[in-house]
Symmetry: D3
Subunit: 159 residues, 6 copies
Amino acid sequence: MAQGLTHLNDRGEAHMVDIGDKPVTRRRAVAEASVLAEPATVEALLSGSGKKGDAIATARIAGIMAAKKTAELIPLCHPLALTRVTVEIEAMNGVSGLHVVATAETVGQTGVEMEALTAASVAALTLYDMGKAMEKGMTITDVRLVEKSGGKSGDFLRA
Amino acid sequence: MAQGLTHLNDRGEAHMVDIGDKPVTRRRAVAEASVLAEPATVEALLSGSGKKGDAIATARIAGIMAAKKTAELIPLCHPLALTRVTVEIEAMNGVSGLHVVATAETVGQTGVEMEALTAASVAALTLYDMGKAMEKGMTITDVRLVEKSGGKSGDFLRA
Amino acid sequence: MAQGLTHLNDRGEAHMVDIGDKPVTRRRAVAEASVLAEPATVEALLSGSGKKGDAIATARIAGIMAAKKTAELIPLCHPLALTRVTVEIEAMNGVSGLHVVATAETVGQTGVEMEALTAASVAALTLYDMGKAMEKGMTITDVRLVEKSGGKSGDFLRA
Amino acid sequence: MAQGLTHLNDRGEAHMVDIGDKPVTRRRAVAEASVLAEPATVEALLSGSGKKGDAIATARIAGIMAAKKTAELIPLCHPLALTRVTVEIEAMNGVSGLHVVATAETVGQTGVEMEALTAASVAALTLYDMGKAMEKGMTITDVRLVEKSGGKSGDFLRA
Amino acid sequence: MAQGLTHLNDRGEAHMVDIGDKPVTRRRAVAEASVLAEPATVEALLSGSGKKGDAIATARIAGIMAAKKTAELIPLCHPLALTRVTVEIEAMNGVSGLHVVATAETVGQTGVEMEALTAASVAALTLYDMGKAMEKGMTITDVRLVEKSGGKSGDFLRA
Amino acid sequence: MAQGLTHLNDRGEAHMVDIGDKPVTRRRAVAEASVLAEPATVEALLSGSGKKGDAIATARIAGIMAAKKTAELIPLCHPLALTRVTVEIEAMNGVSGLHVVATAETVGQTGVEMEALTAASVAALTLYDMGKAMEKGMTITDVRLVEKSGGKSGDFLRA
């Protein structure tokens, strides 16, 4: 049985669940993703930004725009009006790679975890796209929720 | 310097590179992603498919549809006409989680790595969405290219 | 004269009408569509679901996702945040075919008839697409509003 | 078993089938839809076009634009470059209603039935939207393929 | 320094700014665009509307639909639920060309200048597309905000 | 009569014209747009790029992404697979403002004027969006085709 899967009804069929009775509250989620790459690729992506070019900016904007497309991509997500989206990208510590942190906020009836995760994922995919001519073996890893607040299911903070 | 980043011109500005002179060839890419989750969540997602429901089917379809949106999501990707997309999802061996394998093919002037990676990522995000009421801590990991063939840059096969 | 057509102004020009003064209320609409097909096609589509595969699930998800695209497809529809969408598909009684019922809900300033009708239509088109290799002559029929509630224009219930 | 459903693999899983080996040929499909409505509604929609306004033009354009969105709406449709789309709308003979005929063409590896059917459906839905302030009970019926040519599966012409 | 550019943070990075604390108010913006063209082209476009055809209607509908796509096109725009959109197109006085006026309204937390400007721009681009077989040299000019009301930054009225 | 407007049939109805018999050739178009703004705004936008931030990069990427959406925005445009898109933005000479030049290329059956014009327009709209907190009165002007080559209708070069 599909017990616990709220996106399936009692016959196991997918549906977009009813949120019409949930209160309108301010909601926030933060997600992260890491892109593991060779030092030369990381260096090229970073120097391709700042004074030199658009590499990091392109990934940041791709992530922000993807957050707005979440309900188009994830079949059972409710459409919602995001009130804030940020994507930050920087070199990882101790590992060769880039770290993406995406924050999404809304004032609405449902949470924004999927928006934050989608922004982080698409920013990471865009970094892969920018760097793939140098290194096809880059790996995106640790795409996950960091924190979440504002819903009735309680706050979440990754341990 | 942005040396090696083909998506930036010599001033470091993002552009969609010229592929007009590249030959039309048959191209194929395979990508994977893993979703690490508790056994109970994996079990619910799997049993929510097969005879019981739509969980895995929803993720598979989300991945296939996302492959078709790749050029909308990744700023410098060329639009292309995919000739085949498949997404397979099954339980992981030795680890509690689900493994996604996405294959994309086209007959065209540029490769389909990003289409395969986007399909795998969005299928994984959809699995997260389906299971998040049970476990917000699921992690998507090892999103990466498995193999690629058909372009002038040579074939790629993950070691 | 285009009397009675609220989507045209007094010069007959299309516009998206002003709903800014309408109250925010909970709104709901149910629509249906029927897909007439040979028994063998109906059987294949149904057995291609449940324990055997994704046919019905694919149509259900297509309908849910299409509901979210209504304002992109229907030129003068207002964008709105759906709070619930369901699509149910089952064999027809007494006739060889499949029956689709779509329900859409929102809390907003305008009704969701078009969302329910779009979901039902696209689910039916997807069933056609799934079955067309077997039977190109399938017909979609009786796409219509079943009930509507929540707006100032009064409730509607098909006789 | 899902025998005959080409969009499912032998495990019953949805996939976008491989068309990479199919020849590039000129392909054409014609589809129709009927919108049954009261004479007053039909009259308002028709007079809201021609010299008086945009009603029919809006539906025609919605149908043409929807044809271009077919691969976004129908999960397993291949994206393709339409070379021609027309939508014609006129009063029905002997029945009170409007008749929609949509034609789609491409030069490619797969047929355009779904594009023609989607154009006809969305044009019909838009006529409903334009007229629904007058008559919520309008019914869309007989959405079906009229003819198809250009593929290896042979031509189709509705009897 | 990027002083004054609210869409950049203090490191110069693009973000979608936080509007979660802004009051929900009724907001309205009007924008215009002009399409300069030869008298024969203007005449063909105008006569291609009214009783003769769909030229102006097509541009009007394109503008209305584009308003709904603003947040997809302009990277840092917040998605919002438009409550009204109109696009008016008429011959210019004293100059050979067509004048577009677009009005957008919402009840929300942020302004609709970009929606009005996008509607006017895309209506103008569509007029260009309709007329380009006659005159490729048409120029779109004076795309600008005419008035804006409803936000805390004060009303704007072009002098 | 709508003589000369190829997007209308002989009844004045909009259609997407048949290009199925046109040869596949390499096609290219260049378009421009100017954004007139106060020196302080121009300075902020320019310094918000390069080493300081993402302003110009955001507009460049918005233009490139919009080129890929042209057939979604302009109702009668054929969808096509762009093989190259570039957007360049720099300070104007002798006038206070920013100049946008967009280039689009394809190998196909129809021209890419609308893609280049759409890229230039949306890049200009994005510059407006980035700078509007400083100056709501900015004007976008001289949006026009600069050159075009590759189609049977002959090359175009603005005098």
